[in-house]
């Protein structure tokens, strides 16, 4: 059983590896699909309604049906890591998550799964973040992590990590949509899309924090979400990744979405006034060909829907 899954996964990983060799050519790959809108790398939208933000951003990226086909199993991976309420901006905005779920369902997804390996007790985080309730109402299967579903995956391109435990459902999904929330983080300075992928990891994750910049990129060489939607509706500017103080939360009413996870993070860094190239993990990701961090190399389309 496990063998088949793993083999299947390795195929995917291999393909991903092949894709990775087309370093920096992601725009061209997208362009080859012949969709005019897809020549854009990043969609940056401002609006006070989270659902409108999501819809607009995904439309700008070519529409949800470009990514989610009928019958697909979709995994939406928000950040549900902490026992915090949405206003504290430590967990992904539940309205953002719910709208993604609704779009996937509309596109014919057979199943939209949501889970996260939390830092505080899972039941409390699922409840307090409101993601369990609001996303379930939108039609998602919100489930807790099963220890049994972690499987060891080798990381052929890993520098520090040669293998790690990944969550099977995230690996096996037809479509993986990463929905991080933009937050301050003392170690990596900011936590965005690449770091949000830690939520599908098993094992002693604390160990990843040591040589973090290299290890987080190692992880992201074997798992690549089809879309990354960065929730910057409320941004935690300091004392992240948990926050707690509402004075540290800045209302930005923004979403940054794209296919290139590194590009999304690079733009996300600018929300904090940082230069992408100054962030270790982004520099590392770029140098290893995971994506683009030079914003002037990217085609960014902005939509300000503010009335």
């Amino acid at each position: 059983m496990g063998v088949i899954n793993r083999r299947k996964f390795l195929e995917i990983a291999g393909l991903a590896g092949v894709a990775m060799t087309g370093i920096g050519k992601i725009p061209e790959i997208l362009g080859s699909e012949g969709n005019a809108a897809a020549t854009m790398d990043l969609a940056v939208v401002h609006n006070s309604d989270p659902a409108t933000l999501v819809r607009t951003a995904i439309d700008m990226l070519g529409g949800i049906s470009k990514y989610v086909k009928k019958g697909n199993v979709v995994v939406v991976k928000p950040n549900i890591g902490w026992n915090r309420v949405p206003e504290q901006a430590a967990t992904t905005n539940p309205e953002v998550v719910a709208e993604i779920v609704r779009l996937c369902k509309k596109a014919g997804a057979s199943k939209v799964q949501i889970f996260d390996r939390t830092c505080n007790q899972a039941k409390i985080c699922y409840l307090r973040s409101q993601i369990e309730k609001i996303a379930s109402e939108a039609g998602a299967d919100v489930s807790h992590i099963y220890q049994q579903k972690f499987q060891n995956v080798s990381i052929p391109k890993g520098k520090e990590l040669k293998s790690w435990e990944f969550y099977r459902d995230a690996i096996k999904a037809d479509v993986l949509i990463n929905v991080p929330i933009a937050k301050h983080h003392s170690l990596s300075r900011v936590t965005l899309g690449l770091k949000n992928m830690m939520g599908i990891l098993g094992g002693n994750r604390g160990k990843i924090h040591n040589h973090f910049d290299v290890k987080i990129v190692d992880i992201n060489t074997v798992i690549k979400p089809q879309i990354t939607i960065l929730d910057a509706v409320r941004v935690l500017m300091d004392n992240g990744p948990q926050g707690g103080n509402l004075n540290d939360v800045k209302q930005m009413d923004t979403i940054v979405a794209g296919v290139d996870p590194v590009a999304v993070d690079a733009y996300g860094a600018t929300l904090f006034g940082l230069i992408p190239g100054d962030l270790g993990f982004l520099k590392e990701a770029h140098s290893r060909g995971l994506g683009e961090i030079n914003l002037d190399q990217l085609k960014i389309e902005k939509a300000n829907l503010k009335a």
């Binding site: 830092c119 505080n120 007790q121 039941k123 807790h144 003392s186 170690l187 604390g206 160990k207 040589h211």
Partner: protein, 513 residues
Amino acid sequence: MLTARRISQVLFLLLFLYLFFQAAFPYETLIPSDLFLRSSPLIAIATFLTTKRFIGTLVIAIIVLVLAIALGRYFCGWICPLGTTVDFGDWLSKNFRNKKSNPSRKLRTWKFSILIVVLVAALFSVQLVWFFDPIVLMTRTITTAIYPVFAFLTESTLNILLSVGIFQEPLFNLYDFLRETVLPIEPLYFQQGTLFAVILIGILLFGLVARRFWCRYLCPLGALFGFFSSFRLTRGITVAGDKCIDCGKCQRECKMDAINDDFRSHSRIECIECMSCITVCPTDAISYNLRFKFAPDRFDVSRRRFVYSSLGSILTLGLIKTGFHSVIKAGHVVRPAGALPESDFLDRCVRCQECVKICSSTGGCLQPAMLESGWEGIWSPIVNARHGYCEYNCNLCGEVCPTGAIHPLELEVKKKMRMGTAYFDKSRCIPWYRGEDCLVCEEHCPLPDKAIKFDIREARGPDGTTRIVKFPYVDEILCIGCGICATKCPVEGPGGIFLTNAMEQRWEENGMF
């Protein structure tokens, strides 16, 4: 009547289990999960004696006790979850029981000796009720042994089925359902669970000697009810002497060996109103009624026994009170937030593990102590910060404490209540000894302004190269001692940061009820 009693037993056991499951996050329940503990008159009286003050929440226990004047030991026969468990154990072991063994009725006074020991000790501020109270015993054993084992075996079975590889979908659905209802989200581990299980199994094994052995000879709560029912004002079990044919079936049937050899009278101290005798009587000579009758039973607890029990108790409590841990700074035990000052805390704590149970559904820091705070603190809740942490947004342990040993704090008060202080072990902390970044502790620190800060400095690695490293340190002013830093520290074995009770705050009572 017999059927009614059995239904009552099953219902009360189910209620007990239901309340047990209720003791979990988010704890939105109409019935407090410590209802049974609050109903135990033994806990009420012993805690009244240790604290020398009336505890408002134990009113219900006095009502339960006073009812014995009308209804005898109804609690033992109809309600007590341990009594029901013992009945079940006796039923299982009925074919293995030594029919010839006939323990002397004199042994029945043991339970009064135990009661005297408990109450005399309580008078001298040593809480011993926790070893013997049947409600405590059940709560503790279910929390630390039965429930974790049930969860472990259920999950193991599911895992075996899942590894077969077919029916994965329905199996995971079942798994989800069980986790929503009875299984914990994360596996449970408690120290001493085995010991508590062995104690319960021992009580059940006594069933091989005699039915309801515990209730007959040992239970001090039963003794307390027996004492009150000896003064009862109603008839209860009544025998129509002219109908009785001296067959002795009732005496053989009686679980409590309460029926005297004339088959026409019984010990009202022992009878638990189980109604079995009524059912077996071939001539319907036995009936039950609550008409007025006052004829106090003679007590066969001699003055000598009373004195010896009291002396034994005083000697024991002397030893406990002069234990080493009473004088050294406890140093290494961290108590839950809201715990009273140590001696008041130990006066009140009945070691029921309700707090441990509810904590296991959130941060999971509480464990029953072994000898970490001496004999006096045995089985009391202590924080093991390497295993779990005190959830910042949680105040549930105080909510479920039946005796107020942990004061129920408003959440905003609890967030500021200081359990202790964390310290770095710089010989184990990754940035300090290896010169590499980590900061997992800082990431998890739940305080809005972070009690773990860091300096950014240059460090020289073992290979001679230098790099910029974030060196964490604890802000002693801000730290509340929740211990999550110690729990999440990725260093294997002893962590790079540990929790102590330094600068702990205790809830000071202000002399009210």
